[in-house]
Symmetry: C2
Subunit: 450 residues, 2 copies
């Protein structure tokens, strides 16, 4: 890329959204270049090694209905492995650890009734929210003024129901209910079927993992792009001219007919657009990333299974929660995966040794003394990742969707937008990233044909 090079479409970001966009456009006969700031593809999906096996320290799950992702895995001859769920789950509420089976957590009857009616109410409310234009929902303005916390305070009265709801919000958004707009929350629920589905393994968003790792699929997509993909190339400026766009990087400039920015809104906002894009700028500033640290711990065997436990644990006061079984399909060793979410991630982000002690202490509390002797340990602090600065997604804060939400996908001249946040279905998931790539590729084919 010395001097200035040329292409039809420059795609910024080689996460699943950018990779998909580029492959689709190349199929359509366009000359595409993908510029990626990191030294790897995959964006918010990333790989590490645990006890000699490649594992995902980023996005890892395939959910029910994630058809694009399922087809992608198939096309890579990769099989999906059902999330292990056999056995009892653990729930720590108000300082008490309890085992339970099935779908109904061991909370008070009041809490369960309240929680169930809240889920019903949410399902009714989310129907109001048009997936492609939540700002046009009936009562959008009132819903966007309301935080999820305020809604919850009104409809959940018992401590148990509030605790369960909080656990759910924290796990899904890696943020707190008071940060979130009720309209944004409903938009997210609808795009992912409903709150129940978001929280579920087998029948929901965490149904399968990818044999060999999710990240390997991104690597395959990147390999298919060959020389069209350039790593270690952060984009500093996107400058629109009358009939083209110039993308400036420390490694030279690239001129394209159009550009796709396939990044989370706050990350996209760190690029200089030469002429400010006012609504996009506010979107970048008012859509903070969630906070999460993902941790995997390996054991000689999945000892919890012998005790009748599935490996699933959540707690209302646990910093390290939720936890799931992440053992390889052949159970040749055991592994647990868990998360520090939201404020807990911010709190535990500094000191890696203290964090590890907290992880092990939590696992011992939940699964017994055998958890004290791990074989290996791997983690990824997404707050500290300089290109993501948080995960899983940018969060809809109150007022943002109705004030500047329509800037999410609306092209700004020759600059188009992709990324899981822009998806009308499965947003927040890799499936949404792929869907956004399909959508923006269509958008560009249209724009470039005219």
């Amino acid at each position: 890329m010395s001097a200035e090079s040329h292409c039809d479409v420059a795609v910024i970001g080689a996460g699943f959204a950018g990779l998909r966009t580029a492959l689709r456009l190349r199929e359509a006969g366009l000359l595409v270049r993908v510029l990626e700031a990191r030294d790897r593809v995959g964006g918010r999906s990333a790989a590490a090694t645990l006890n000699g096996r490649t594992i995902d320290v980023g996005g890892q799950w395939v959910g029910v209905g994630h058809e694009r992702l399922r087809a992608l895995a198939e096309s890579c001859d990769t099989s999906l492995v059902p999330q292990y769920t056999a056995g009892s789950k653990l729930l720590e509420l108000g300082g008490r650890m309890r085992r339970y089976d099935g779908l109904i957590p061991p909370a008070s009857v009041t809490a369960l009734v309240e929680m169930q009616s809240a889920l019903w109410r949410l399902r009714a409310l989310q129907r109001r929210v048009p997936p492609d234009a939540p700002w046009d929902a009936h009562g959008a303005d009132a819903l966007d003024r309301l935080s999820v916390d305020a809604w919850q305070a009104r409809w959940l009265r018992s401590r148990g129901a509030r605790a369960l709801f909080d656990i759910g919000v924290r796990a899904v958004f890696c943020g707190t209910p008071r940060q979130l707009s009720m309209l944004g929350f409903l938009h997210y629920l609808r795009a992912n079927r409903d709150f129940d589905a978001l929280l579920s393994t087998t029948d929901g968003a965490q149904a399968w993992t990818v044999d060999g790792g999710m990240h390997a699929l991104a690597v395959r997509m990147g390999a298919a792009l060959g020389d069209a993909l350039q790593l270690d190339t952060p984009v500093r400026q996107i400058e629109q001219q009358a009939d083209s766009v110039v993308v400036h990087t420390p490694r030279g400039a690239l001129r394209a007919s159009r550009v796709v920015v396939a990044m989370a809104p706050p990350a996209a906002g760190r690029i200089d657009y030469a002429v400010t894009l006012p609504a996009r700028e506010q979107l970048a500033q008012r859509m903070p990333m969630g906070s999460v640290i993902k941790v995997l711990v390996a054991y000689a065997k999945p000892f919890w299974r012998a005790n009748g436990l599935s490996g699933e644990f959540v707690g209302d006061a646990a910093a390290f929660s939720p936890v799931f079984d992440a053992s390889p399909a052949d159970a040749s060793h055991g592994a647990l995966i868990g998360f520090f979410d939201g404020p807990e991630a911010v709190h535990w982000s500094g000191d890696a040794q203290a964090r590890r002690r907290e992880v092990i202490a939590t696992l011992v509390r939940a699964f017994g003394p055998e958890a004290a002797e791990p074989l290996d340990y791997a983690e990824k602090d997404w707050i500290a990742d300089p290109w993501s600065r948080g995960c899983y997604t940018g969060l809809w804060t109150p007022g943002t969707l109705t004030e500047v939400g329509s800037a999410l996908r609306a092209p700004c001249g020759r600059v188009h937008w992709a990324g899981t946040e822009t998806a009308t279905e499965w947003c927040g998931y890799i499936e949404g990233a792929l869907a956004s790539g399909d959508r923006v590729a269509d958008e560009l084919r249209h724009a470039m044909a005219s």
Copy 2:
């Protein structure tokens, strides 16, 4: 700054906070360097020319109690000019333009009673909030969950009172009530005496302007620093080592014993800290800047005065509101100053010609047909300013103060923080910026003596 240069303290940002910090530290005998990204000093204060006269297109007012700023003006032999307020004010509510005198706007009795009791209630509430640690307020958690919008919906029932309150919030914060945490709001009110004072001219925060312009004071401070001040030098990275800090810029590296970042939190968040500062990162992401475009319009004479008007105008549905008289002290010509605030600023940020038409149409509606013939026009779109990306200040969104607020001033190793947002008194104003400079200079003298 070729190769690596050295100093005791590197100050990043030459707004009033950074300039004050540097001058104070130099008085204490330390070798200081100030690095500024822009080609000028002053930060969120800036100058332009209107009808041949230097005017402020950024921060301009001196308020009652702004003693540091008053002393600074005096030390520069600069006088303060009282904000012109003689005559009637204009209020446009529900499509009707009304004149009124004195402090009480022409709203319904219900609206006035509600508004008055809301102001009383706010005064009582703000007393709970310790200026230096709002997160320790009695009931901080509940107040930080609540948006200003939710509070307002509870205490203001009449349309008139809500409209008046909204006008006030928009004018002070350049954002919407649903964006703001009630705890953050109370913190801001307390730091600036109360809501009334924030909205007032003569007895409040907009009492005087600076003869020759506020920005000239920053220029004087910058000149006093001489070679210690370096413009056009954006800081890209701050790298802490065992016993010093290296500040990286496109013009070379600077090694210092300690660093002061004197910038608004979101701008400070665009610097790479080599090792992520988790709470600061969340603060940067969750404290969006307000949105504002400031406009000045010159006329042959201050014709509204002859009609018995003060030049002050606000409207509940006007995009361009509030408006004030900004004529020079000798009234040699007339000038009005006004603002597009919050969502209106985002909406009108794109098209300069349409914006100008909207300004003139509003002024004609308020002040009559003479407003249609301006002599000159000057403006500053602070959203489009690449180093500020908004004004006046970073906003406290729900949850931010209690979750990560204490990161606002807490030094991170050898990196210290200044800027008006960090001030415990007069935050949001230039007085707060100066106060933050005094505070951080003390902090550093302590740290470097030990």
